[in-house]
Amino acid sequence: MTKILLVDDDRSLLRALEIGLGAKGYDTAVSATGKDGLTKAVLFSPDLILLDMGLPDIDGIQFCRQLRSYSETPILVLSAAEDETRKVEALDAGADDYVTKPFGMAELDARIRVALRHARNRSDHNGATLVKVGDIEVDLERRQVTNAGVPIELTAREFDILLYLAKNSGKVYTHHQILRDIWGRGYGEETHYLRVYINRLRKKLNDPEGKIIRTKPGIGYQLLDTTEDS
């Protein structure tokens, strides 16, 4: 059974999520504080953590950073719409995705499933020379990309970006993260560079609507496996 840890200090929401997710077949554990959450993240060893940004004891961002120092468990951040900058900080600190409050159970469940699927994918990629996300295959050794078997010509930087997103598909990367990791230190604000490359990549991947490479407005990009979605 898939195990989900809920960390939120709002008891009502916690209880509603516990009931809702429990009835959907997840095994849940709850924490009302960040410290308790970090402890349960070890003891309960959840497959996914739902994390509220506003915890009474430790900051949500700090929670992400601490957890990431020893665990790859996907983190789905529950945040309010006005927490835009903190959302970005949380993603930079290692969170995988975010859900904006208020959200419905169906939406939350869908996001959980995407995060879980990609997390499983990710562990398959560990040490592999071939990264596969849906129809897209990235061959690390030969630096070649195929989409549904059709080879695609990419420049070195386009390849780097695609590989970067694909290795952790499902994770939302912030503009800052991508620029810093692909372009190098000293970059981070030049989101217009990124936009140009992403547009070219989408064209070459036959993804004009951005279904494979998702735009997260004001935040960053996310590569999604679209083949399993109905």
């Binding site: 709002d10 929401l13 506003g54 409050k101 208020p102």
Partner: protein, 506 residues
């Protein structure tokens, strides 16, 4: 201003002194006049002239010289009692006497003039110093304007002094001193578009005419100082204009300071607004998130819920809706306070009724069950707006319930003390951290991470203050927070009176 009168008095004194001393020296030398030389007499006769010059100035000296000449010739130069001089050497003595006296008088008079100029300068400087001293230091603008007009009016003895400042559209009266200025006169002073303003006012009494000095700093106009009264002397005009410059500087400085304060206030208000917005949006969203999660869970066909779970989700929706509506009420009340339209609609009411109402306003049955209400003393009446005070009670209880572990009761108690009644709400939560103690009643006391807070306590404070009461918080010995507010009790007599009327109250 009094110089001319003073000098006339000095001249009279000088002439008197000269006459008296001439009389004394003449009488003193008279018995020996045949024994002393003509030159000695001349020397002695210099003294009265010099005395006259010292006291009365050069004019008196001239009178003295003529008198001295006549006395010398008539009394001391033989042949006596004639204007005949006789010997040639006596002519020389007479000539030398006149020459010496004229020269000495001139020198002494010049010295005297120089001294009086110095004295006048000193007086002038002291007056300016006294005036300027009034402008120093921390003054509010209105206070400063009053100081300027009243000190000018007193120093120069003007009938009226008026300080006009540049308003947003035209000159406006900043301060007045002395006789009040009529509306008619103001019309003439302050030009208004469409109305003619007098450039030259033809006064029946010339000395009473109005005149003005522009107050400027670095070429920029600050205002206009208008005076009515006589101002004759040159040094006075200088003094006035120097003082006007000082006043202009001081006024400009005060205006700048006022502007800086205003700007600071605006920044503060802006900061406050932003904090309020973020606090409110958080507080609105939190219950919404629970409601949405619970409702969508109930509505999801893929979710299989048993009866107890269904009941619990429905309960959540109901509870959180109450919480939300309480917040909305709080927000509306806050807006009323902010807009300044909130005045308590007071009536005489028993405190136990208010507590009952507060519990009802809490809305949530389960939460209510957690509140323990000890038997409170009856017959405690307060004058209060029952809507507002029940809101205070509900907010305090809501806060206590949110900080109490589930199942641990929250106590509300009522205790009269002196002329007040104290309502205390105690929870068994973790208490208020010491660093937040001072700030719990502020609009956004919460640190950014805590989801509890909001405006409930701030509203409680505002409402209690509006009733003339006090609200405070402390941590109880057992660790929980203890909030307490007071309301003035209504005196027994008044209540009796109301009971008799039997139409008042509820």
């Amino acid at each position: 201003m009094l110089n001319s009168r003073k000098s006339r008095r000095d001249q009279i004194k000088g002439i008197a002194l000269t006459t008296a001393s001439f009389l004394i020296v003449t009488l003193a030398m008279f018995p020996f006049r045949s024994h002393i030389s003509v030159a000695t007499a001349a020397l002695v006769l210099v003294i009265p002239v010099i005395l006259g010059v010292v006291v009365g100035g050069f004019g008196v000296g001239l009178v003295g010289i003529v008198a001295g000449f006549v006395i010398y010739d008539f009394v001391f130069i033989p042949p006596y009692y004639t204007l005949n001089v006789g010997q040639t050497q006596n002519w020389i003595a007479l000539g030398v006497y006149v020459a010496v006296v004229i020269i000495v008088s001139r020198v002494v008079a010049n010295m005297k003039d120089a001294r009086s100029v110095a004295v006048e300068g000193e007086i002038h400087a002291r007056q300016l110093f006294e005036l300027s001293k009034l402008l120093l230091g921390e003054h509010e603008l209105t206070e400063l304007l009053d100081t300027v007009t009243s000190s000018v009016q007193q120093t120069f003895q003007f009938e009226a002094v008026l300080l006009l400042l540049q308003g947003p559209e035209r000159l406006e009266v900043g301060a007045t001193a002395g006789r009040p200025v009529t509306a008619n006169e103001l019309h003439e002073l302050i030009p208004e578009s469409g109305f003619p303003a007098a450039l030259l006012r033809h006064s029946d009494r010339d000395s009473q005419s109005l005149f003005s000095i522009a107050l400027t700093v670095a070429g920029k106009p600050v205002g206009l100082l208008v005076m009515q009264g006589a101002l004759a002397q040159n040094p006075d005009i200088q003094l006035l204009s120097t003082f006007a410059n000082h006043a202009a500087l001081a006024i400009e400085q005060a205006q700048l300071k006022e502007q800086a304060l205003e700007a600071q206030l605006l920044t503060e208000t802006d900061k406050w607004r932003r904090a309020l917005l973020s606090s409110v949006s958080h507080d609105l969203r939190t219950p919404l998130a629970s409601i949405k999660a619970a409702a969508s869970g109930l509505n999801d066909p893929s979710v299989n819920l048993d009866q107890a779970q269904t009941r619990e989700l429905l309960d959540t929706i109901s509870t959180e809706t109450d919480r939300l509506s309480r917040l909305v009420v709080n927000l509306l009340d806050m807006t009323r306070i902010e807009a300044g339209v909130m005045t308590p609609n007071n009536e005489i009411i028993e405190i136990s009724d208010l507590i009952e109402e507060g519990l009802t306003a809490l809305g949530d049955d389960r939460a209510r069950a957690q509140v323990s209400v000890p038997e409170s003393p009856s017959d405690l009446f307060v004058s209060a707006d029952h809507v507002l005070i029940s809101q205070v009670i509900a907010n305090l209880l809501d806060n206590a319930l949110r900080h109490s572990p589930k199942g641990k009761p929250v106590a509300i108690e009522v205790a009269p003390r002196d002329s007040e009644v104290f309502v205390t709400v105690t929870d068994q939560g973790p208490g208020v951290p010491p660093q937040l103690m001072e700030h719990v009643f502020e609009m956004f006391s919460k640190d950014s991470d805590s989801s509890h807070a909001g405006i409930g306590l701030a509203i409680a404070k505002a409402f209690v203050s509006a009733h003339g009461g006090q609200i405070s918080v402390e941590n109880s010995p057992s660790g929980g927070a203890r909030f307490s507010f007071s309301l003035p009790l209504v005196p027994f007599d008044e209540r009796r009176y109301l009971d008799d009327e039997d139409t008042f109250g509820r």
